[in-house]
Protein backbone atom coordinates (compact mmCIF):
# COMPACT_ATOMS: atom_id res chain seq x y z
CA UNK A 1 0.00 0.00 0.00
CA UNK A 2 2.75 2.43 0.97
CA UNK A 3 4.74 1.57 -2.14
CA UNK A 4 1.67 2.01 -4.27
CA UNK A 5 0.92 5.41 -2.78
CA UNK A 6 4.53 6.48 -3.29
CA UNK A 7 4.50 5.34 -6.91
CA UNK A 8 1.22 7.13 -7.61
CA UNK A 9 2.63 10.32 -6.14
CA UNK A 10 5.83 10.00 -8.20
CA UNK A 11 3.69 9.39 -11.31
CA UNK A 12 2.14 12.78 -10.61
CA UNK A 13 5.32 14.48 -11.82
CA UNK A 14 5.10 13.43 -15.51
CA UNK A 15 1.33 14.10 -15.39
CA UNK A 16 1.86 17.63 -14.11
CA UNK A 17 4.64 18.23 -16.64
CA UNK A 18 2.32 17.04 -19.42
CA UNK A 19 -0.40 19.39 -18.22
CA UNK A 20 2.03 22.30 -18.03
CA UNK A 21 3.22 21.66 -21.60
CA UNK A 22 -0.37 21.46 -22.82
CA UNK A 23 -1.34 24.66 -21.07
CA UNK A 24 1.85 26.41 -22.20
CA UNK A 25 1.11 25.47 -25.81
CA UNK A 26 -2.39 26.96 -25.58
CA UNK A 27 -0.78 30.40 -25.43
CA UNK A 28 1.33 29.76 -28.51
CA UNK A 29 -1.39 28.14 -30.60
CA UNK A 30 -3.82 31.01 -30.08
CA UNK A 31 -3.99 33.03 -33.28
CA UNK A 32 -2.70 36.59 -33.03
CA UNK A 33 0.26 38.13 -31.28
CA UNK A 34 0.11 37.89 -27.48
CA UNK A 35 2.48 40.86 -27.13
CA UNK A 36 0.17 43.00 -29.24
CA UNK A 37 -2.96 42.03 -27.36
CA UNK A 38 -1.12 42.74 -24.09
CA UNK A 39 -0.04 46.16 -25.34
CA UNK A 40 -3.54 47.13 -26.45
CA UNK A 41 -4.77 48.41 -29.80
CA UNK A 42 -3.22 51.90 -29.57
CA UNK A 43 0.33 50.80 -28.73
CA UNK A 44 3.22 51.74 -31.01
CA UNK A 45 5.57 49.18 -32.61
CA UNK A 46 8.27 49.98 -30.00
CA UNK A 47 5.88 49.39 -27.12
CA UNK A 48 4.89 46.01 -28.56
CA UNK A 49 8.56 45.07 -28.98
CA UNK A 50 9.29 46.14 -25.40
CA UNK A 51 6.45 44.01 -24.07
CA UNK A 52 7.61 41.10 -26.24
CA UNK A 53 11.06 41.35 -24.63
CA UNK A 54 9.78 41.82 -21.09
CA UNK A 55 7.47 38.78 -21.35
CA UNK A 56 10.29 36.80 -22.98
CA UNK A 57 8.18 36.22 -26.08
CA UNK A 58 11.13 36.80 -28.44
CA UNK A 59 13.03 33.69 -27.28
CA UNK A 60 12.77 30.20 -28.85
CA UNK A 61 9.87 28.02 -27.69
CA UNK A 62 11.77 25.54 -25.43
CA UNK A 63 13.49 28.44 -23.65
CA UNK A 64 10.14 30.11 -23.16
CA UNK A 65 8.73 26.87 -21.73
CA UNK A 66 11.67 26.69 -19.32
CA UNK A 67 10.99 30.24 -18.18
CA UNK A 68 7.28 29.45 -17.86
CA UNK A 69 7.98 26.36 -15.77
CA UNK A 70 10.41 28.24 -13.53
CA UNK A 71 7.86 30.95 -12.87
CA UNK A 72 5.13 28.33 -12.41
CA UNK A 73 7.09 26.60 -9.65
CA UNK A 74 7.44 29.96 -7.93
CA UNK A 75 3.66 30.35 -8.17
CA UNK A 76 3.85 33.09 -10.80
CA UNK A 77 1.22 32.67 -13.51
CA UNK A 78 1.77 36.08 -15.10
CA UNK A 79 -0.46 39.11 -14.91
CA UNK A 80 -3.95 39.65 -16.24
CA UNK A 81 -3.88 41.97 -19.27
CA UNK A 82 -7.13 43.46 -18.11
CA UNK A 83 -6.61 44.20 -14.43
CA UNK A 84 -2.77 44.10 -14.38
CA UNK A 85 -3.00 42.04 -11.19
CA UNK A 86 -1.14 38.74 -10.72
CA UNK A 87 -3.21 35.82 -12.05
CA UNK A 88 -2.33 33.72 -8.97
CA UNK A 89 -3.97 36.33 -6.75
CA UNK A 90 -7.08 36.58 -8.94
CA UNK A 91 -7.44 32.79 -9.01
CA UNK A 92 -6.92 32.59 -5.25
CA UNK A 93 -9.88 34.92 -4.79
CA UNK A 94 -12.21 32.84 -6.95
CA UNK A 95 -11.15 29.25 -6.28
CA UNK A 96 -12.90 29.02 -2.86
CA UNK A 97 -16.23 29.90 -4.50
CA UNK A 98 -15.87 27.08 -7.03
CA UNK A 99 -14.80 24.58 -4.36
CA UNK A 100 -17.73 25.64 -2.17
CA UNK A 101 -20.15 25.12 -5.06
CA UNK A 102 -18.75 21.74 -6.16
CA UNK A 103 -18.55 20.36 -2.63
CA UNK A 104 -22.12 21.46 -1.95
CA UNK A 105 -23.31 19.79 -5.19
CA UNK A 106 -21.39 16.63 -4.32
CA UNK A 107 -22.86 16.51 -0.80
CA UNK A 108 -26.33 16.98 -2.26
CA UNK A 109 -25.82 14.15 -4.75
CA UNK A 110 -24.34 11.78 -2.15
CA UNK A 111 -26.64 12.55 0.79
CA UNK A 112 -29.70 12.11 -1.38
CA UNK A 113 -28.43 9.51 -3.86
CA UNK A 114 -27.04 6.88 -1.46
CA UNK A 115 -30.15 6.59 0.78
CA UNK A 116 -32.41 6.42 -2.29
CA UNK A 117 -30.14 3.75 -3.76
CA UNK A 118 -30.29 1.68 -0.55
CA UNK A 119 -34.08 1.94 -0.37
CA UNK A 120 -34.57 0.91 -3.99
CA UNK A 121 -32.14 -2.00 -3.63
CA UNK A 122 -34.13 -3.34 -0.67
CA UNK A 123 -37.34 -3.20 -2.71
CA UNK A 124 -36.36 -3.80 -6.34
CA UNK A 125 -39.00 -3.41 -9.07
CA UNK A 126 -41.15 -1.11 -6.95
CA UNK A 127 -42.39 2.40 -7.66
CA UNK A 128 -39.32 4.09 -6.16
CA UNK A 129 -37.01 1.79 -8.09
CA UNK A 130 -38.66 2.67 -11.42
CA UNK A 131 -38.63 6.38 -10.64
CA UNK A 132 -34.88 6.22 -10.00
CA UNK A 133 -34.30 4.53 -13.37
CA UNK A 134 -36.23 7.26 -15.19
CA UNK A 135 -34.55 10.08 -13.28
CA UNK A 136 -31.13 8.71 -14.13
CA UNK A 137 -31.89 9.09 -17.85
CA UNK A 138 -33.49 12.51 -17.28
CA UNK A 139 -30.39 13.58 -15.35
CA UNK A 140 -28.00 12.88 -18.21
CA UNK A 141 -30.38 14.42 -20.75
CA UNK A 142 -31.10 17.75 -19.03
CA UNK A 143 -28.91 20.66 -20.12
CA UNK A 144 -27.59 22.05 -16.85
CA UNK A 145 -28.12 25.69 -17.84
CA UNK A 146 -31.77 25.03 -18.65
CA UNK A 147 -32.25 23.20 -15.34
CA UNK A 148 -30.66 26.17 -13.55
CA UNK A 149 -32.92 28.69 -15.27
CA UNK A 150 -36.04 26.59 -14.53
CA UNK A 151 -35.10 26.29 -10.85
CA UNK A 152 -34.29 29.99 -10.76
CA UNK A 153 -37.65 31.05 -12.17
CA UNK A 154 -39.49 28.61 -9.91
CA UNK A 155 -37.78 29.31 -6.58
CA UNK A 156 -36.78 32.94 -6.89
CA UNK A 157 -39.29 34.51 -9.31
CA UNK A 158 -42.49 32.60 -8.60
CA UNK A 159 -42.02 31.46 -5.01
CA UNK A 160 -39.46 34.16 -4.06
CA UNK A 161 -37.87 31.79 -1.51
CA UNK A 162 -34.27 32.09 -2.66
CA UNK A 163 -32.05 34.79 -4.16
CA UNK A 164 -31.56 34.26 -7.91
CA UNK A 165 -27.89 35.14 -8.36
CA UNK A 166 -24.64 36.01 -6.60
CA UNK A 167 -22.72 34.53 -3.68
CA UNK A 168 -23.44 35.15 -0.04
CA UNK A 169 -24.83 32.93 2.71
CA UNK A 170 -26.34 29.48 2.55
CA UNK A 171 -29.41 30.80 0.73
CA UNK A 172 -27.31 31.82 -2.26
CA UNK A 173 -25.64 28.42 -2.36
CA UNK A 174 -28.81 26.31 -2.49
CA UNK A 175 -29.96 26.89 -6.09
CA UNK A 176 -26.58 26.58 -7.84
CA UNK A 177 -25.68 23.61 -5.61
CA UNK A 178 -28.89 21.77 -6.47
CA UNK A 179 -28.52 22.59 -10.17
CA UNK A 180 -25.04 21.14 -10.29
CA UNK A 181 -25.81 18.15 -8.03
CA UNK A 182 -29.30 17.10 -9.14
CA UNK A 183 -28.25 15.27 -12.33
CA UNK A 184 -25.97 13.07 -10.22
CA UNK A 185 -28.53 12.12 -7.54
CA UNK A 186 -30.14 9.41 -9.66
CA UNK A 187 -26.78 8.26 -11.04
CA UNK A 188 -25.37 7.80 -7.53
CA UNK A 189 -28.61 6.09 -6.49
CA UNK A 190 -28.48 3.60 -9.37
CA UNK A 191 -24.85 2.85 -8.72
CA UNK A 192 -25.50 2.28 -5.01
CA UNK A 193 -28.49 0.12 -5.88
CA UNK A 194 -26.69 -2.19 -8.31
CA UNK A 195 -23.71 -2.58 -5.96
CA UNK A 196 -26.02 -3.31 -3.04
CA UNK A 197 -27.84 -5.96 -5.08
CA UNK A 198 -24.49 -7.56 -5.99
CA UNK A 199 -23.21 -7.51 -2.42
CA UNK A 200 -26.44 -8.74 -0.84
CA UNK A 201 -26.28 -11.93 -2.92
CA UNK A 202 -22.75 -12.73 -1.68
CA UNK A 203 -22.04 -15.76 0.50
CA UNK A 204 -20.91 -13.76 3.52
CA UNK A 205 -24.27 -11.99 3.65
CA UNK A 206 -26.01 -15.36 3.74
CA UNK A 207 -23.62 -16.45 6.47
CA UNK A 208 -24.35 -13.30 8.48
CA UNK A 209 -28.08 -13.85 8.13
CA UNK A 210 -27.89 -17.55 9.00
CA UNK A 211 -25.96 -16.92 12.17
CA UNK A 212 -28.92 -14.85 13.29
CA UNK A 213 -27.71 -11.26 12.99
CA UNK A 214 -30.52 -8.78 12.83
CA UNK A 215 -31.34 -7.56 9.32
CA UNK A 216 -30.25 -4.00 10.03
CA UNK A 217 -26.71 -5.07 10.96
CA UNK A 218 -26.54 -7.35 7.92
CA UNK A 219 -27.59 -4.62 5.53
CA UNK A 220 -25.66 -1.69 6.92
CA UNK A 221 -22.59 -3.19 8.53
CA UNK A 222 -21.92 -6.05 6.12
CA UNK A 223 -23.71 -4.95 2.97
CA UNK A 224 -23.54 -1.20 2.64
CA UNK A 225 -19.91 -0.75 3.65
CA UNK A 226 -18.82 -3.09 0.88
CA UNK A 227 -21.29 -1.76 -1.65
CA UNK A 228 -20.02 1.78 -1.22
CA UNK A 229 -16.41 1.09 -2.18
CA UNK A 230 -17.01 1.20 -5.96
CA UNK A 231 -19.25 4.24 -5.43
CA UNK A 232 -16.32 6.12 -3.89
CA UNK A 233 -14.15 5.55 -6.96
CA UNK A 234 -16.78 6.90 -9.28
CA UNK A 235 -17.30 9.95 -7.09
CA UNK A 236 -13.84 11.05 -8.26
CA UNK A 237 -14.97 10.91 -11.88
CA UNK A 238 -18.19 12.74 -11.00
CA UNK A 239 -16.25 15.43 -9.16
CA UNK A 240 -14.22 16.09 -12.31
CA UNK A 241 -17.41 16.33 -14.38
CA UNK A 242 -18.92 18.65 -11.78
CA UNK A 243 -15.96 21.01 -12.20
CA UNK A 244 -16.86 21.08 -15.89
CA UNK A 245 -20.53 21.65 -15.05
CA UNK A 246 -19.50 24.35 -12.57
CA UNK A 247 -18.32 26.51 -15.48
CA UNK A 248 -21.89 26.60 -16.82
CA UNK A 249 -23.62 26.78 -13.43
CA UNK A 250 -21.45 29.73 -12.38
CA UNK A 251 -22.40 31.56 -15.57
CA UNK A 252 -26.12 30.92 -15.00
CA UNK A 253 -26.11 32.10 -11.38
CA UNK A 254 -23.46 34.84 -11.70
CA UNK A 255 -21.44 32.85 -9.16
CA UNK A 256 -18.05 34.56 -8.74
CA UNK A 257 -15.97 31.40 -9.24
CA UNK A 258 -13.13 30.19 -11.40
CA UNK A 259 -15.32 28.89 -14.25
CA UNK A 260 -17.03 32.18 -14.95
CA UNK A 261 -13.67 33.93 -14.67
CA UNK A 262 -12.22 31.56 -17.28
CA UNK A 263 -15.08 32.17 -19.73
CA UNK A 264 -14.78 35.94 -19.32
CA UNK A 265 -11.04 35.68 -19.95
CA UNK A 266 -11.56 33.56 -23.09
CA UNK A 267 -14.03 36.09 -24.50
CA UNK A 268 -11.63 38.99 -23.75
CA UNK A 269 -8.54 37.02 -24.88
CA UNK A 270 -6.87 37.58 -21.50
CA UNK A 271 -4.38 34.83 -22.25
CA UNK A 272 -2.49 34.43 -18.97
CA UNK A 273 -5.78 34.18 -17.10
CA UNK A 274 -7.01 31.50 -19.54
CA UNK A 275 -3.76 29.58 -19.08
CA UNK A 276 -3.86 29.88 -15.31
CA UNK A 277 -7.49 28.84 -14.89
CA UNK A 278 -7.13 25.85 -17.23
CA UNK A 279 -4.03 24.82 -15.27
CA UNK A 280 -5.84 25.01 -11.93
CA UNK A 281 -8.81 23.02 -13.26
CA UNK A 282 -6.52 20.34 -14.70
CA UNK A 283 -4.49 20.03 -11.50
CA UNK A 284 -7.68 19.78 -9.42
CA UNK A 285 -8.93 16.90 -11.56
CA UNK A 286 -5.61 15.06 -11.25
CA UNK A 287 -5.43 15.58 -7.48
CA UNK A 288 -9.02 14.44 -6.88
CA UNK A 289 -8.37 11.31 -8.92
CA UNK A 290 -5.22 10.59 -6.93
CA UNK A 291 -7.02 11.03 -3.60
CA UNK A 292 -9.83 8.73 -4.73
CA UNK A 293 -7.40 6.05 -5.93
CA UNK A 294 -5.54 6.11 -2.63
CA UNK A 295 -8.82 6.05 -0.72
CA UNK A 296 -9.89 3.02 -2.74
CA UNK A 297 -6.81 1.06 -1.67
CA UNK A 298 -7.38 2.14 1.92
CA UNK A 299 -11.06 1.14 1.93
CA UNK A 300 -10.57 -2.22 0.28
CA UNK A 301 -7.51 -3.98 1.71
CA UNK A 302 -8.10 -6.95 -0.63
CA UNK A 303 -6.80 -4.87 -3.51
CA UNK A 304 -3.13 -5.43 -4.09
CA UNK A 305 -1.14 -3.37 -6.50
CA UNK A 306 1.58 -5.13 -8.39
Amino acid sequence: MFNYALRRIILLIPMLLGISIGVFLVLHLIPGDPARSAAGPDASEEDVEMIRKSYGLDKPLPVQYGLYLKKLIQGDLGRSFRTRRPVTQEIGQRLPATIELSVCAMLFAVLLGIPIGILSSLKPKTFLDNIVTYFAVFGISMPIFFLGLVLMILFSSVLTWLPPTGRGGIAHLILPGITLGLPYVATVARLTRSNMLDVLSEDYIRTARSKGLCERVVIYKHGLVNALIPVVTLLGVYFGRMLGGAVITETVFAWPGLGRYMIEAIVLRDIYVVQGTILVFAISVVLVNLIVDLLYGFLDPRITYS
Binding site: M15, G18, G22, V26, L29, I30, P31, P124, K125, D129, T133, V137, F138, I140, S141, M142, P143, I144, F145, F146, L149, V150, M152, I153, S157, R193, S194, L197, V237, G240, R241, L243, G244, G245, V247, I248, T251, M262, I263, I266, V267, V274, I278, F281, A282, V285, V286, N289
Partner: protein
Protein backbone atom coordinates in the same frame (compact mmCIF):
# COMPACT_ATOMS: atom_id res chain seq x y z
CA UNK B 1 -33.76 -1.60 -38.44
CA UNK B 2 -37.02 -3.54 -38.91
CA UNK B 3 -35.64 -6.31 -36.72
CA UNK B 4 -34.87 -3.75 -34.03
CA UNK B 5 -38.42 -2.35 -34.21
CA UNK B 6 -39.86 -5.84 -33.95
CA UNK B 7 -37.65 -6.45 -30.91
CA UNK B 8 -38.90 -3.26 -29.24
CA UNK B 9 -42.54 -4.18 -29.85
CA UNK B 10 -41.99 -7.75 -28.68
CA UNK B 11 -40.25 -6.70 -25.47
CA UNK B 12 -42.88 -3.96 -24.92
CA UNK B 13 -40.14 -1.33 -24.60
CA UNK B 14 -42.44 1.61 -25.30
CA UNK B 15 -40.04 4.23 -24.00
CA UNK B 16 -37.45 3.14 -26.59
CA UNK B 17 -40.13 3.33 -29.29
CA UNK B 18 -40.86 6.86 -28.08
CA UNK B 19 -37.15 7.64 -28.27
CA UNK B 20 -37.02 6.33 -31.82
CA UNK B 21 -39.99 8.51 -32.82
CA UNK B 22 -38.39 11.62 -31.26
CA UNK B 23 -35.09 10.94 -33.02
CA UNK B 24 -36.85 10.34 -36.36
CA UNK B 25 -38.86 13.56 -36.00
CA UNK B 26 -35.71 15.49 -35.08
CA UNK B 27 -33.75 14.21 -38.08
CA UNK B 28 -36.69 14.83 -40.42
CA UNK B 29 -37.09 18.40 -39.14
CA UNK B 30 -33.36 19.06 -39.47
CA UNK B 31 -33.18 17.70 -43.00
CA UNK B 32 -36.35 19.46 -44.18
CA UNK B 33 -35.63 22.83 -42.49
CA UNK B 34 -35.08 24.76 -45.77
CA UNK B 35 -38.46 23.62 -47.08
CA UNK B 36 -40.27 24.37 -43.81
CA UNK B 37 -39.08 27.95 -43.39
CA UNK B 38 -36.53 30.29 -44.93
CA UNK B 39 -33.18 30.99 -43.29
CA UNK B 40 -34.00 34.68 -43.58
CA UNK B 41 -37.14 34.34 -41.45
CA UNK B 42 -35.04 32.58 -38.78
CA UNK B 43 -32.45 35.38 -38.56
CA UNK B 44 -34.08 38.62 -39.69
CA UNK B 45 -34.77 41.11 -36.90
CA UNK B 46 -38.31 42.50 -36.68
CA UNK B 47 -38.39 44.46 -33.44
CA UNK B 48 -42.05 45.48 -33.84
CA UNK B 49 -43.01 41.82 -33.20
CA UNK B 50 -40.66 41.20 -30.27
CA UNK B 51 -41.59 38.88 -27.37
CA UNK B 52 -45.07 37.99 -28.66
CA UNK B 53 -46.90 35.29 -26.74
CA UNK B 54 -47.74 32.06 -28.61
CA UNK B 55 -50.62 32.64 -31.02
CA UNK B 56 -52.02 31.24 -34.26
CA UNK B 57 -49.59 33.29 -36.31
CA UNK B 58 -46.56 32.39 -34.19
CA UNK B 59 -47.23 28.99 -32.68
CA UNK B 60 -44.40 29.26 -30.13
CA UNK B 61 -44.36 33.07 -29.99
CA UNK B 62 -41.45 35.31 -30.94
CA UNK B 63 -38.10 36.10 -29.30
CA UNK B 64 -36.71 39.46 -28.20
CA UNK B 65 -35.70 40.31 -31.78
CA UNK B 66 -39.20 39.52 -33.09
CA UNK B 67 -38.17 36.28 -34.81
CA UNK B 68 -40.57 33.35 -34.89
CA UNK B 69 -39.41 30.82 -32.27
CA UNK B 70 -40.72 27.77 -34.12
CA UNK B 71 -38.74 28.73 -37.22
CA UNK B 72 -35.61 29.27 -35.15
CA UNK B 73 -36.06 25.93 -33.38
CA UNK B 74 -36.46 24.17 -36.75
CA UNK B 75 -33.20 25.68 -38.01
CA UNK B 76 -31.60 25.05 -34.62
CA UNK B 77 -32.38 21.34 -35.09
CA UNK B 78 -30.42 21.41 -38.34
CA UNK B 79 -27.44 23.06 -36.65
CA UNK B 80 -27.51 20.63 -33.70
CA UNK B 81 -27.74 17.63 -36.01
CA UNK B 82 -24.87 18.80 -38.24
CA UNK B 83 -22.62 19.56 -35.25
CA UNK B 84 -23.49 16.25 -33.56
CA UNK B 85 -23.12 14.01 -36.63
CA UNK B 86 -19.86 15.57 -37.79
CA UNK B 87 -18.26 15.65 -34.34
CA UNK B 88 -19.28 12.06 -33.58
CA UNK B 89 -17.98 10.94 -36.99
CA UNK B 90 -14.65 12.64 -36.36
CA UNK B 91 -14.18 11.07 -32.93
CA UNK B 92 -15.47 7.71 -34.12
CA UNK B 93 -13.13 7.39 -37.10
CA UNK B 94 -10.00 8.59 -35.28
CA UNK B 95 -10.87 6.92 -31.97
CA UNK B 96 -11.73 3.53 -33.48
CA UNK B 97 -8.53 3.65 -35.54
CA UNK B 98 -6.38 4.41 -32.47
CA UNK B 99 -8.19 1.89 -30.26
CA UNK B 100 -8.04 -0.86 -32.89
CA UNK B 101 -4.32 -0.42 -33.54
CA UNK B 102 -3.52 -0.12 -29.83
CA UNK B 103 -5.49 -3.29 -29.16
CA UNK B 104 -4.09 -5.29 -32.06
CA UNK B 105 -0.48 -4.32 -31.42
CA UNK B 106 -0.83 -4.40 -27.64
CA UNK B 107 2.82 -5.31 -27.01
CA UNK B 108 4.20 -2.29 -28.82
CA UNK B 109 5.50 0.50 -26.64
CA UNK B 110 3.66 3.10 -28.74
CA UNK B 111 0.33 1.38 -28.02
CA UNK B 112 1.03 1.48 -24.30
CA UNK B 113 1.93 5.16 -24.34
CA UNK B 114 -1.05 6.06 -26.54
CA UNK B 115 -3.50 4.29 -24.25
CA UNK B 116 -1.97 5.90 -21.17
CA UNK B 117 -2.52 9.31 -22.77
CA UNK B 118 -6.09 8.34 -23.71
CA UNK B 119 -6.75 7.18 -20.14
CA UNK B 120 -5.48 10.45 -18.67
CA UNK B 121 -7.57 12.45 -21.14
CA UNK B 122 -10.71 10.50 -20.19
CA UNK B 123 -10.25 11.62 -16.59
CA UNK B 124 -10.67 15.23 -17.67
CA UNK B 125 -14.16 16.66 -18.03
CA UNK B 126 -14.81 16.77 -21.77
CA UNK B 127 -16.34 20.22 -21.64
CA UNK B 128 -13.05 21.61 -20.26
CA UNK B 129 -11.05 19.92 -23.04
CA UNK B 130 -13.46 21.36 -25.58
CA UNK B 131 -13.20 24.84 -24.01
CA UNK B 132 -9.41 24.63 -24.24
CA UNK B 133 -9.58 23.66 -27.94
CA UNK B 134 -12.08 26.42 -28.69
CA UNK B 135 -9.74 28.92 -27.02
CA UNK B 136 -7.13 27.92 -29.57
CA UNK B 137 -9.41 27.69 -32.61
CA UNK B 138 -11.80 30.56 -31.94
CA UNK B 139 -15.61 30.43 -31.82
CA UNK B 140 -17.94 29.22 -34.57
CA UNK B 141 -19.66 26.10 -35.83
CA UNK B 142 -16.51 24.55 -37.32
CA UNK B 143 -14.37 24.90 -34.22
CA UNK B 144 -17.27 23.82 -31.97
CA UNK B 145 -17.64 20.63 -34.01
CA UNK B 146 -13.90 19.98 -34.09
CA UNK B 147 -13.50 20.64 -30.37
CA UNK B 148 -16.29 18.24 -29.40
CA UNK B 149 -15.02 15.65 -31.88
CA UNK B 150 -11.42 15.77 -30.71
CA UNK B 151 -12.32 15.67 -27.03
CA UNK B 152 -14.42 12.52 -27.58
CA UNK B 153 -11.67 10.50 -29.32
CA UNK B 154 -10.39 8.83 -26.10
CA UNK B 155 -13.84 7.36 -25.39
CA UNK B 156 -13.87 5.48 -28.71
CA UNK B 157 -10.24 4.45 -28.39
CA UNK B 158 -11.01 2.81 -25.04
CA UNK B 159 -14.34 1.40 -26.23
CA UNK B 160 -12.76 -0.48 -29.16
CA UNK B 161 -9.49 -1.58 -27.61
CA UNK B 162 -11.14 -4.07 -25.20
CA UNK B 163 -13.14 -6.05 -27.80
CA UNK B 164 -10.14 -6.07 -30.17
CA UNK B 165 -7.95 -7.51 -27.41
CA UNK B 166 -10.31 -10.44 -26.92
CA UNK B 167 -11.38 -10.91 -30.56
CA UNK B 168 -7.84 -11.19 -31.87
CA UNK B 169 -7.35 -14.40 -29.85
CA UNK B 170 -10.43 -16.06 -31.39
CA UNK B 171 -9.95 -19.11 -33.55
CA UNK B 172 -11.32 -17.59 -36.73
CA UNK B 173 -8.75 -14.80 -36.48
CA UNK B 174 -5.95 -17.28 -35.85
CA UNK B 175 -7.24 -19.25 -38.85
CA UNK B 176 -7.14 -16.17 -41.06
CA UNK B 177 -3.63 -15.47 -39.84
CA UNK B 178 -2.46 -19.02 -40.55
CA UNK B 179 -3.53 -18.79 -44.20
CA UNK B 180 -1.39 -15.69 -44.51
CA UNK B 181 -3.90 -12.85 -44.32
CA UNK B 182 -2.19 -9.52 -43.60
CA UNK B 183 -2.50 -7.77 -40.25
CA UNK B 184 -4.48 -4.78 -41.47
CA UNK B 185 -6.82 -6.96 -43.48
CA UNK B 186 -7.51 -9.10 -40.40
CA UNK B 187 -8.05 -6.01 -38.26
CA UNK B 188 -10.43 -4.23 -40.61
CA UNK B 189 -12.20 -7.17 -42.28
CA UNK B 190 -12.35 -9.79 -39.51
CA UNK B 191 -12.16 -8.01 -36.18
CA UNK B 192 -13.71 -4.54 -36.51
CA UNK B 193 -17.02 -5.69 -38.08
CA UNK B 194 -17.61 -7.64 -34.87
CA UNK B 195 -17.36 -4.47 -32.77
CA UNK B 196 -20.11 -2.80 -34.81
CA UNK B 197 -22.78 -3.22 -32.12
CA UNK B 198 -20.57 -1.44 -29.56
CA UNK B 199 -20.04 1.38 -32.03
CA UNK B 200 -23.75 1.75 -32.83
CA UNK B 201 -24.76 1.89 -29.16
CA UNK B 202 -21.99 4.28 -28.16
CA UNK B 203 -22.57 6.36 -31.30
CA UNK B 204 -26.23 6.96 -30.41
CA UNK B 205 -25.34 7.97 -26.86
CA UNK B 206 -22.46 10.11 -28.17
CA UNK B 207 -24.87 12.07 -30.34
CA UNK B 208 -26.93 12.87 -27.24
CA UNK B 209 -23.78 13.96 -25.41
CA UNK B 210 -22.55 15.99 -28.38
CA UNK B 211 -25.85 17.90 -28.56
CA UNK B 212 -25.69 18.47 -24.79
CA UNK B 213 -22.09 19.71 -24.79
CA UNK B 214 -22.58 21.80 -27.94
CA UNK B 215 -25.58 23.55 -26.41
CA UNK B 216 -23.64 24.19 -23.18
CA UNK B 217 -20.67 25.67 -25.04
CA UNK B 218 -23.00 27.78 -27.17
CA UNK B 219 -24.77 28.96 -24.02
CA UNK B 220 -21.37 30.16 -22.77
CA UNK B 221 -20.91 32.10 -26.02
CA UNK B 222 -18.25 29.73 -27.37
CA UNK B 223 -20.34 28.27 -30.20
CA UNK B 224 -22.00 29.79 -33.25
CA UNK B 225 -22.48 33.53 -32.84
CA UNK B 226 -25.77 35.45 -33.18
CA UNK B 227 -27.98 35.52 -35.15
CA UNK B 228 -27.38 31.80 -35.84
CA UNK B 229 -30.27 29.96 -34.09
CA UNK B 230 -28.38 27.38 -32.01
CA UNK B 231 -30.63 26.21 -29.15
CA UNK B 232 -28.16 26.88 -26.34
CA UNK B 233 -27.23 30.27 -27.79
CA UNK B 234 -30.94 31.12 -28.09
CA UNK B 235 -31.40 30.46 -24.38
CA UNK B 236 -28.35 32.56 -23.53
CA UNK B 237 -29.49 35.56 -25.54
CA UNK B 238 -33.11 35.39 -24.34
CA UNK B 239 -32.53 34.61 -20.66
CA UNK B 240 -32.85 38.26 -19.63
CA UNK B 241 -36.54 38.09 -20.62
CA UNK B 242 -37.30 34.86 -18.75
CA UNK B 243 -39.55 36.60 -16.22
CA UNK B 244 -41.72 38.60 -18.60
CA UNK B 245 -41.77 36.03 -21.43
CA UNK B 246 -40.76 32.57 -20.17
CA UNK B 247 -41.57 30.93 -23.54
CA UNK B 248 -38.38 32.36 -25.08
CA UNK B 249 -36.32 30.13 -22.78
CA UNK B 250 -38.70 27.21 -22.37
CA UNK B 251 -39.24 26.54 -26.09
CA UNK B 252 -35.57 25.89 -27.01
CA UNK B 253 -34.89 24.35 -23.57
CA UNK B 254 -37.65 21.76 -23.88
CA UNK B 255 -36.60 21.03 -27.49
CA UNK B 256 -33.05 20.32 -26.27
CA UNK B 257 -34.19 18.14 -23.38
CA UNK B 258 -36.61 16.07 -25.48
CA UNK B 259 -34.13 15.46 -28.30
CA UNK B 260 -31.27 14.49 -25.98
CA UNK B 261 -33.62 12.27 -23.98
CA UNK B 262 -34.76 10.63 -27.22
CA UNK B 263 -31.22 9.73 -28.25
CA UNK B 264 -30.34 8.45 -24.76
CA UNK B 265 -33.43 6.23 -24.51
CA UNK B 266 -32.86 4.95 -28.04
CA UNK B 267 -29.26 4.16 -27.09
CA UNK B 268 -30.47 2.16 -24.08
CA UNK B 269 -32.93 0.30 -26.31
CA UNK B 270 -30.20 -0.54 -28.81
CA UNK B 271 -28.00 -1.84 -26.00
CA UNK B 272 -30.77 -4.16 -24.82
CA UNK B 273 -31.24 -5.30 -28.41
CA UNK B 274 -27.59 -6.15 -29.00
CA UNK B 275 -26.87 -7.48 -25.52
CA UNK B 276 -29.98 -8.84 -23.78
CA UNK B 277 -27.85 -10.00 -20.84
CA UNK B 278 -27.16 -6.36 -19.97
CA UNK B 279 -30.79 -5.74 -19.18
CA UNK B 280 -30.91 -8.63 -16.76
CA UNK B 281 -27.80 -7.72 -14.80
CA UNK B 282 -28.09 -3.93 -14.78
CA UNK B 283 -31.79 -3.42 -14.43
CA UNK B 284 -32.57 -6.20 -11.99
Amino acid sequence: MIKFLAFLVRSKDFSAIGGLIVVAAFILTAVCAPWLASWESATKVALQHSLLKPSQQHVLGTDEMGRDLLVRIIWGARISLVVAILSVSLSLVVGVFIGALAGYYEDKRLSFITMRIMDSLIAFPRILLAIMLITIMGTGIVSLTTAIGLSTIPIYARLIRGPVLSLKKREYVLAAKSIGTGDLSILFKEILPNTLSNIIVQGTISIAEAILIASGLSFLGLGPQPPIPEWGAMIASSRAYIRSAPHVVFAPGIALFVVILGFNILGDGLRDYYDPRFKKTQRG
